[in-house]
């Protein structure tokens, strides 16, 4: 096909397109299948343009165009074609789309075709047909199982520089987009009585039984068309084509209001207690999702009961050269024939170990293909099937196997060894492999249920004990339960649906089981061909051959988990869906054990790969997590504040004024304004907990390490909270609003943790105390008004009835007042800056108005707003410990708070704080530091060493925790923890910071740098 023909075709318009489009699809049948031949869809693969039709997958469209080579294998770069027609496909991994939407490692078999789809093959250079790394096949002996453990061992120095980068480049799969995903994803929660996994005959019967009984049913299926293998086989139900039963059943299900059918939805994980994860590909079949529509949707489903009707996966045969393009699973061949109207080859040979594979013969013939041969590995071919095949002109060889294959980039012929040892060459361009079916036990084993071996179908089936607890029942039905025939699917599906609905309390009955056409299931699996030429692949995706399993056996890696890790059998994106059992079967032969004796690998979520975007949903970028805004946020934005993230909060860091080019200029100006006049700072982020009840004081005395119960009404106190292990949890303030009512404020960062701790103490440790608490952090906007003119400013908004004089509201006083003409407010005379200061709290709804009123009232006094940076500078100037010091490793004693701790009461952390390690006098404790050279800059994180010491872990004396440039003092100051610091004031040490090249001599001093006696506080 030439590009010019295609271009002309596209210009011909839709009416003329179908016949021409079909002419360009040499392997498309003239009729049949779930496709619309009148809706052509142009697409490209590796830059070449092709035409598919509506209803195609990328895989079926490629096959229809005669494209058989679709990828190169992972390790040996061998040419590979389609093996399967579903999500188990190991070979046809492609990159879809381009630019930021490029999506690597997508299975062509599940990529729904749309007009303009761009796909590219992976892991090849320079092209798919001519892959330079195909030479890897020639050096296969060095690339055998575990090669990276033994081949590239010496010289060791080359591993990191040469071997690993080289192996990574050679063994790569697709390329990530490398740009932000432009699409949206969303997450939803859903609840149902019965979750049905799989939309084939068993699943639909289950949904019907449960839905008719009135149960809330969710049915999910990964395919974009419901019906499962009913769409892939030519079957009859109640004497009519199965499609009629299917459409009637779907119509009834759609009419039931409590039944939800989710196609394009993969149930990827089963979690405890009836929780399930599923991903719905809402927009994957569109070039670009519609505006405001998600690309994918993650479902978290809580189901009371579940029916696992996910079907079964066919097993390939293992023989030399079994990976040549054109060699496919027989079920996949029938899917391409019957569902997609595509002949996978003009001349098809069938290799089967059971009756099931023979079905392919009729289907190929019916679609106009030629059946070259049927090779049945059993000694006897069923006579009736043999007669029919021979009547169609097929050569039938019983008791034979395929001993080798030929063809450069696609299959040309197979060498068949007959029962008598004679080998004959049979020309064919497609070989259909049928070697039995593996029930999809994946989802059943997500909760650690072990599958059990079924001698009846030579496969693992779900064992007893899936799920647990009364709400978590999962029952398997149909092929997933090892009941492989259509009749069994319909029967067990309906029964499982009825049982599941009954378990939820619905009066459900299994629907009448329709009759089906007969089918044979006799089957004797052949785990590998007895003799064959060339590499016989077990795991196509990871290039694990039968010889690798022999090697693992020879070297003693025989346990199933070791086998997997040594050979990588069953790893990679398909997780061994087509390979695990063949691997076990071969190991069983080698060790003389049974397959269940060898064991089985367990499966973990996800069933198929799930895009990270789906898990993230809309939680990305700015919406990664909620944003909390302070009460003055609008004013801060209007006035150009610079914000800083503090947990979920966006706090103003500083509010620059025009002409202030540097943050430190703004911060210093804010500090100077507070120290000289007055400033206003938003403290809304503080955690505020309202504690009430007759035992509130007793309660606080047990959770705080210092005395609280003696606090008079109308007074505030400092609160020291320890953890039970004796370390500091947090500090805060507590205000006694009434005899039995307190408000405690704690650090912004610790608010949730402290609340949880207090509830733990109340509910679990001391349930007898009559006390209740509520977080009121969101309910109150709280501002710090600090500076010599704070009282004058406050006077401007507090109603005149209230006396603000020092005598009426002294340091650590608190009062309920009204502001702005009757608005309730709380005043606390608390200072974090060392200045005359108040914290004023108003109901959150008045927050913005109160802030603006305070700024207006302070204008005459020279007020400025100050942010978290100035707040921090001033607390360092005062030597108050904060988050950098209360870091989970320090005790109250370390921070100079030891004298506050009560000796006459029990409290959380009382005993453990005295453990020898925590009471060690040699511990690093809080001290102040200033540079000996006043011009030097200090860095938080610097470690302290003696002036003559060589920096080493052993000589480490502690570290600088907080630093600031103090505009009040005109030089840098720091707080830090240093061994015996409180006894070393005046001594000089090095503050050593090799990361940023800092090495400054500092002098140890008391932590309070400014106004150490607190004179300004009491103004």
């Amino acid at each position: 096909m030439s590009t010019t023909t295609l271009t002309r075709l596209e210009g011909a318009g839709p009416a003329a397109a179908p016949p021409s489009a079909l002419r360009l699809q040499p392997f498309r049948t003239v009729s049949g299948g779930l496709i619309d031949r009148c809706s052509p869809l142009p697409f490209s693969f590796d830059g070449r343009r092709y035409m598919g039709v509506q209803g195609d997958t990328l895989a079926s469209a490629l096959l229809a165009n005669g494209v058989r080579l679709v990828g190169r294998s992972f390790k040996y770069h061998r040419p590979r074609g389609l093996l399967a027609a579903g999500s188990e496909e190991p070979n046809a991994l492609v990159e879809l789309r381009g630019g930021a939407r490029r999506e690597p490692n997508t299975r062509a078999t599940v990529a729904e075709l749309y007009a303009g789809l761009e796909a590219a093959s992976q892991n090849r250079w320079p092209s798919l047909a001519l892959d330079a790394l195909g030479v890897n096949g020639l050096v296969a002996p060095v690339l055998a199982a575990g090669f990276y453990y033994k081949t590239f061992m010496w010289p060791a120095a080359l591993w990191e520089r040469l071997y690993e980068p080289m192996i990574r480049r050679v063994a790569g799969l697709g390329r990530a987009a490398g740009a932000d995903d432009p699409d949206a994803y969303e997450k939803v929660h859903a609840h149902c009585d019965v979750l049905v996994v799989g939309g084939g005959p068993a699943g639909l019967s289950a949904a019907l039984a449960a839905g008719r009984a009135g149960a809330r049913v969710i049915l999910v299926d990964e395919d974009f068309v419901l019906g499962g293998r009913l769409n892939a086989e030519r079957r009859e139900i109640d004497g009519s084509p199965a499609a009629e039963w299917l459409s009637a059943t779907l119509a009834e299900l759609r009419s039931l209001p409590e039944v939800r059918l989710l196609a394009r939805t993969t149930l990827f994980g089963v979690y405890d207690h009836g929780a399930y994860g599923a991903v719905e590909r809402e927009g994957d079949h569109l070039a670009v999702p519609p505006e405001h529509a998600p690309r994918q949707r993650l479902w978290r489903i809580a189901a009371r009961q579940a029916v696992l009707a996910a079907g079964a996966l066919e097993r390939p045969h293992v023989f030399g050269g079994n990976d040549r393009p054109g060699i496919m699973l027989a079920g996949a061949v029938r899917t391409y024939l019957n569902r997609f109207g595509v002949l996978p080859g003009h001349s098809v040979a069938v290799l089967t170990s059971g009756d099931d594979g023979w079905r392919t013969v009729d289907d190929v013939a019916a679609a106009g293909g030629r059946v070259a041969a049927v090779i049945d590995t059993r000694a006897e071919a069923p006579p009736e099937l043999r007669r029919r095949a021979e009547a169609l002109g097929a050569r039938v060889i019983a008791g034979g196997h395929v001993a080798g294959t030929r063809g450069r980039l696609a299959l040309a012929s197979v060498d068949v060894a007959g029962a008598g040892g004679r080998t004959e060459r049979i020309a064919c361009d497609c070989l259909a492999m049928a070697n039995g079916w593996n029930p999809l036990v994946h989802l059943d084993s997500h909760l650690s249920a072990r599958p059990v071996w079924s001698e009846a179908i030579h496969a693992f089936v779900p064992g007893p004990g899936h799920g647990h607890g009364p709400d978590a029942g999962m029952r398997a039905a149909g092929a997933a339960a090892g009941r492989l025939t259509l009749a069994e699917c319909l029967e067990t599906g309906g029964r499982a649906g009825a049982e599941a609905a009954s378990a939820c309390g619905f009066a459900a009955v299994a629907p009448a089981v329709p009759t089906t056409d007969p089918e044979g299931v006799a089957h004797v699996p052949l785990w590998r061909a007895p003799r064959s030429r060339g590499k016989a692949f077990v795991d196509f995706q990871n290039d694990v051959a039968a010889s690798d399993i022999e090697l693992a056996h020879r070297e003693g890696f025989r346990a199933v988990e070791l086998l997997k890790r040594y050979t990588t059998l069953g790893m990679a994106t398909d997780q061994g869906k087509t390979s695990n059992l063949s691997g076990l079967g071969i190991m069983a032969e080698l060790t003389g054990r049974t397959i269940p004796g060898v064991g089985t690998t367990m499966f973990r979520p996800p069933y198929t790969p799930v895009a990270i975007g789906a898990f993230a949903g809309h939680h990305r970028g700015r919406d990664f997590r909620p944003t909390r805004q302070v009460a003055s946020h609008a004013w801060c934005v209007e006035n150009g504040a610079v914000f800083v993230e503090a947990g979920l909060w966006r706090r103003p860091a500083y509010v620059p004024r025009p002409g202030e080019g540097d943050w430190m200029v703004s911060v210093s100006r804010e500090v100077e304004t507070v120290r000289a006049r007055v400033g206003l700072c938003d403290m809304t982020t503080l955690g505020k907990i309202d504690i009430q009840g007759p035992d509130a004081a007793a309660f606080l005395d047990r959770v705080c390490a210092n005395a609280i119960g003696t606090l008079p009404v109308g007074r505030c106190g400092y609160a020291v909270l320890l953890r039970e292990d004796g370390l500091m949890m947090d500090d805060g303030t507590v205000a006694r609003l009434g005899e039995s009512r307190f408000v405690i404020t704690v650090s912004s960062a610790h608010a949730a943790k402290v609340m949880q701790h207090l509830e733990f103490c109340r509910q679990w440790l001391w349930p007898g105390l009559d006390v209740r608490m509520a977080s009121v952090s969101e309910q109150w906007a709280q501002y710090a008004l600090a500076g010599p003119r704070a009282r004058d400013t406050l006077r401007g908004i507090v109603d005149p009835d209230f006396d603000l004089a020092d005598a009426a509201l002294p340091v650590l006083g608190c009062a309920a007042v009204t502001v702005g003409g009757g608005i309730p407010a709380r005043l606390f005379r608390l200072s974090f800056s060392g200045e005359l200061a108040y914290e004023i709290a108003v109901p959150a709804g008045y927050g913005d108005a109160a802030w603006r009123a305070l700024m207006a009232a302070g204008a005459a006094h020279g007020i400025c707003a100050y942010g978290a940076e100035a707040l921090s500078v001033m607390r360092i100037e005062k030597g108050y410990p904060a988050g950098a010091e209360i870091n989970g490793q320090t005790t109250a004693g370390d921070l100079g708070l030891g004298a506050l701790l009560a000796a006459d009461k029990d409290y959380v952390g009382r005993l453990m704080k005295d453990r020898p390690g925590l009471a060690d006098p040699d511990r690093p404790v809080l001290a102040g530091f200033h540079p000996v050279d006043r011009g030097a800059r200090l860095r938080a994180g610097a470690h302290f060493f003696g002036l003559c010491a060589t920096p080493s872990l052993a000589a480490d004396e502690g570290s600088m925790t907080s630093v600031a440039y103090s505009p009040t003092l005109g030089h840098w100051i720091g707080l830090g923890l240093i061994r015996r610091g409180s006894a070393r004031h005046g001594e000089r040490v090095r503050a050593y910071d090799p990361v940023r090249g800092g090495d400054v001599v500092v002098e140890i001093c008391p932590p309070a740098f400014v106004d150490p006696n607190g004179e300004k506080l009491h103004a």
Partner: protein
Amino acid sequence: MRIRCPYCGARDNGEFSYLGDAAPRRPEGMAAEPAQMFDYVYLRDNPAGAIRELWYHAAGCRSWLVVTRDTRTHAIAGVAAARDVALAREAGR
């Protein structure tokens, strides 16, 4: 996982945070010995089987719960409000 909170019903485990074994009793009062407290703070059994453990319904009713869970299967045999359990414990003391 889903946990059946006595106040809120069966809820996704993302709403809860985990603390651990509910068996250790805090040695109360000024007479408590440091060794007892050390046990309470640090020493935990790690049974294969049923364990009663403390969970906190942080994104719900803020109740502490005693959840009886089988560590081998995650099967939850029962959930009770920790305060009720603690009150019963005190009453029986």
